[in-house]
């Protein structure tokens, strides 16, 4: 039935649907189930920040579903709510599917009530009906439909039940004429609605839907209705009526906030509806729900944070331990592949391009795919189980001290995967200065693309059994430096009001395997695609710059020396010397030499300096650059040709530490920088970010380099 080929939107039998619901009700998952589309679904507030559209055909209709970001109510509190509110009020669509969580109807119908004042055709999808069954919540969907005047369908996006019925209900509602929903208010409000509607009737005001509806909107201070009526002659007499009505209602509700008045009105109406239609079967005991039992442990005031740290530590251990098994195979494969392909190419230059340039560069990046997959699985689990919100809860106290917001944790953790979605998810922070602050710190959370560099270096300098711990330490120190940086920024650049911390703690859910699979698969394919295209190109460029110009003079000079030399050892040494001399006078060598003085104080030579520069394009390129730089001319002396051993041989430990510190802290990749600039709202922020990260990275690398030298007592030698 479903078929996700995009179709022509201009057709007679076309239904454009706005999918609306509160956060965490499974909207994205519902779209997934209806259309088999690949959307990312998470179990914390704010996964769908931008609206996304899905197309599919069914029962001779073309459907377009616009997945709107989750909103608790019609407010402009967060960006998500603003996007949704704007869309619903200003754009054209045929029908609303309001997705609600059957296990929490009371809260969810609050939004439904607000949607009912929009005068749009609507279908209510009672999602998670299977969970409701399990929890002993019995909903009379038919009676609910009757009471609300809206068709209500029980569905379960997770179990894929009720999808056909939902689509039928959508088509039936679309084909039928608009039915007014039945929204009933308290006596006081109904009285005022009556007075205003009667006045409108008297003056023969012709409303699109009804004068009752206009009255409700006026009482709610709905901007558009106000604007329409404001220019009409009847406004002069209507205005005093409205002021009188407001006064009456406000006294009745003991508040001067219209939003609050209507929220209370809706809540009362919904309570009535729920009493009529929902039965809560008594559970045998007052048994603690699974979520409660999990929470007892996971957000325990003492154990909560250690448990979180332990889970993160476990993730990095796994990343390293399990990841290293297939790595050896991949490494061996590319070695073999390079040799085999190389043997078939007669031309020296072409062979060097293919083997040392493309295969070495791409191979170096592909090598880390297993690590990336494990890291992405970990983050996907964290997102989809609902644990993320718990951590935000646990960490808000600490984060707040550092000038961040508990919810900053969500973009920050996303930043461990990739900075780009992290920058975008920072939008869940409403307060501008909190958001900017978070944006500035995200880069300190080492993204997945930096992982290869860390794995390479920890693998080169630490024993297998502690490398995982070192990896974890690198990530944690990045995060700690990020927190300190946030504090510094908060005290200097981003002074301002703190945003309140009010967050829903969603129920724990077992992550759907299919969703995790899709998320991880999509991300991994993106990583590999990047390796095959962008990084292959960059490797070729680095290869070219490091192989040309080829000095004939040097070659002849060394050829003569080699001929005169006695013994294989001397020949080997001279060959290596010749290669090094060639590399040094290549374009890349010249660039590197020119910038080397800047990097000498932090213990980096020109090769590492060049690798850092190429990392500005993408962090994976750092590894491929090192792969190319250490592959060119290695054959002569190395028996073991892996990059790891090359790193171990050529780079002193202190320089490696300094290099890692720079990688950890300096500017994110080009794509991420572009997104950062867009999200922060101007190129000037990028300039700040550039100076801020460069200064931090340089200072801390300097410190780390000299500390390591002092501790290890090693002489300050540059890599060779």
């Amino acid at each position: 039935m479903p078929n996700d080929t995009p179709t022509c939107p201009v057709t007679e039998k076309h239904i454009r649907i706005a999918l609306v619901g509160q956060p965490n009700v499974g909207k994205s998952m519902l779209i997934n189930s209806i259309s088999d589309a690949r959307l990312h679904v998470g179990n914390f507030s704010g996964v769908t920040v931008e609206k996304s559209e899905v197309f599919f055909d069914c029962n001779t209709y073309h459907f377009t579903i616009v997945d709107l970001p989750g909103s608790y109510a019609f407010t402009d509190y967060s960006i998500e709510e603003r996007v949704t509110h704007d869309f619903l009020c200003n754009e054209t669509y045929d029908l609303i599917i309001n997705v609600v969580d059957s296990t929490n109807l009371e809260k969810n119908l609050q939004l439904t009530a607000e949607l009912m004042t929009l005068n749009k055709k609507m279908v209510l999808a009672l999602n998670m009906s299977d969970e409701a069954d399990k929890e002993g919540i019995v909903i009379d969907a038919e009676y609910l439909s009757t009471l609300l005047g809206i068709p209500a369908v029980k569905v379960s996006a997770a179990a894929k039940t009720g999808m056909d019925t939902l689509i039928e209900a959508v088509i039936d509602t679309h084909e039928a004429s608009y039915q007014k929903p039945k929204l009933v208010f308290s006596e006081a409000v109904e009285e005022e609605i009556g007075i205003i509607a009667a006045y409108l009737n008297e003056h023969r005001f012709k409303a699109a839907i009804s004068n009752r509806n206009i009255a409700i909107n006026l009482l709610q201070n709905e901007k558009k209705t106000y604007r329409t009526l404001h220019d009409l002659p009847l406004w002069i007499e209507l205005q005093p009526l409205l002021i009188e009505a407001d006064k009456h209602i406000e006294t009745h509700h003991d508040t001067d906030d219209v939003k609050e008045v209507f929220a209370e009105e809706y809540a009362a109406f919904i309570r009535g509806v729920i009493t009529e239609t929902v039965q809560f079967k008594e559970q045998p005991f007052e048994k603690k729900s699974l979520t409660e039992r999990f929470d007892d442990l996971l957000i325990h005031p003492v154990l909560g944070i250690p448990i979180f740290l332990f889970l993160m530590w476990g993730l990095f251990q796994l990343t390293f331990e399990i990841g290293s098994i297939p790595m050896e195979w991949i490494d061996a494969f590319f070695g073999w592949f390079g040799e085999t392909v190389g043997a078939t190419i007669p031309n020296d230059d072409v062979r060097s391009l293919v083997v040392d340039g493309i295969i070495a560069g791409v191979g170096a990046v592909v090598l880390f795919t297993p690590n990336i997959i494990i890291l992405f699985i970990g983050i996907a689990l964290l997102e989809s189980t609902g644990y993320m919100s718990r951590v935000a809860f646990l960490l808000d106290g600490i984060f707040h001290k550092f000038g961040l917001h508990g919810q900053s944790f969500i973009p920050l953790v996303t930043g461990f995967g990739c900075s780009i979605p992290a920058y975008m998810s920072a939008r869940i922070l409403k307060n501008e200065s909190d958001r900017l602050l978070t944006l500035f710190v995200i880069g300190f959370m080492s993204c997945g693309a930096r992982l290869p560099v860390y794995v390479l270096f920890t693998g080169a300098f630490f024993a297998q059994n502690i490398a995982g711990n070192v990896l974890f330490a690198i990530y944690i120190s990045g995060a700690i430096i990020g927190l300190i940086a946030a504090k510094v920024l908060k005290m200097t650049a981003f002074r301002g009001q703190d945003e309140p911390f009010v967050m829903e703690m969603p129920k724990y859910r077992l992550p759907s395997l299919k969703l995790i699979w899709h998320t991880v698969l999509t991300k991994t394919l993106m990583y590999l695609k990047k390796a095959g295209t962008f990084i292959a190109g960059a490797s070729m460029l680095v290869w070219f710059l490091s192989s040309y110009p080829h000095s004939q003079e040097l070659e002849t000079a060394y050829a003569a020396k080699i001929e005169r030399a006695a013994g294989t050892e001397a020949v080997g040494r001279l060959t290596a010397e010749a290669d090094a001399a060639q590399l040094e006078q290549s374009y890349l060598g010249r660039i590197g030499k020119a910038i080397e003085p800047l990097f000498t104080p932090i213990g980096l030579d020109w090769k590492l300096a060049v690798a850092l520069q190429t990392g500005l394009a993408a962090k994976e390129v750092v590894v491929s650059t090192l792969g190319v730089l250490y592959a060119v001319g290695e054959e002569a002396i190395e028996t073991d040709k892996t990059l790891i051993s090359a790193i171990r041989t050529h780079i002193p430990f202190a320089s490696a530490v300094s290099f890692i510190v720079v990688i950890m802290l300096y500017l994110p990749c080009l794509a991420a920088s572009v997104v950062f600039t867009r999200e922060a709202g101007g190129i000037k922020y990028f300039v700040y970010l550039f100076f801020f990260t460069t200064a931090t990275a340089y200072m801390l690398a300097f410190l780390a380099y000299h500390l390591t030298l002092a501790i290890t007592g090693a002489p300050a030698v540059l890599p060779h």
């Binding site: 608790y72 109510a73 407010t75 509190y77 296990t103 929490n104 009371e106 809260k107 609050q110 509700h253 003991d254 508040t255 906030d257 939003k259 609050e260 929220a263 209370e264 809540a267 979520t291 409660e292 929470d295 007892d296 957000i299 005031p301 003492v302 909560g304 944070i305 919100s389 935000a392 809860f393 646990l394 808000d396 106290g397 600490i398 707040h400 508990g406 409403k430 309140p500 911390f501 009010v502 967050m503 829903e504 703690m505």
Partner: protein
């Protein structure tokens, strides 16, 4: 404190925070229950209806409640 039920009497919050609380269902007459605290009691988790909500202590103090007898 913990595990105690109470009824919201008045919201002393203003502006966006008030709107936010209201849209979460924290409004006059709503029943709330304290579930637990984060380390250092900086943040509190409450249950309102069937939903769980995390609040900073400063914000929670703006919700006036009357404890159940």
């Amino acid at each position: 404190m913990k595990g105690c039920g109470a009824t919201v009497v008045k919201l002393h919050a203003q502006g966006p925070l008030k709107q936010r609380l209201v849209s979460f269902g924290v409004m006059k007459g709503a029943r709330v229950e304290v579930i637990g605290f984060a380390p250092a009691r900086s943040t509190v988790e409450i249950k309102i209806g069937r939903m769980r909500l995390a609040l900073r202590k400063d914000e929670a103090e703006l919700i006036e409640v009357s404890a159940d007898a």
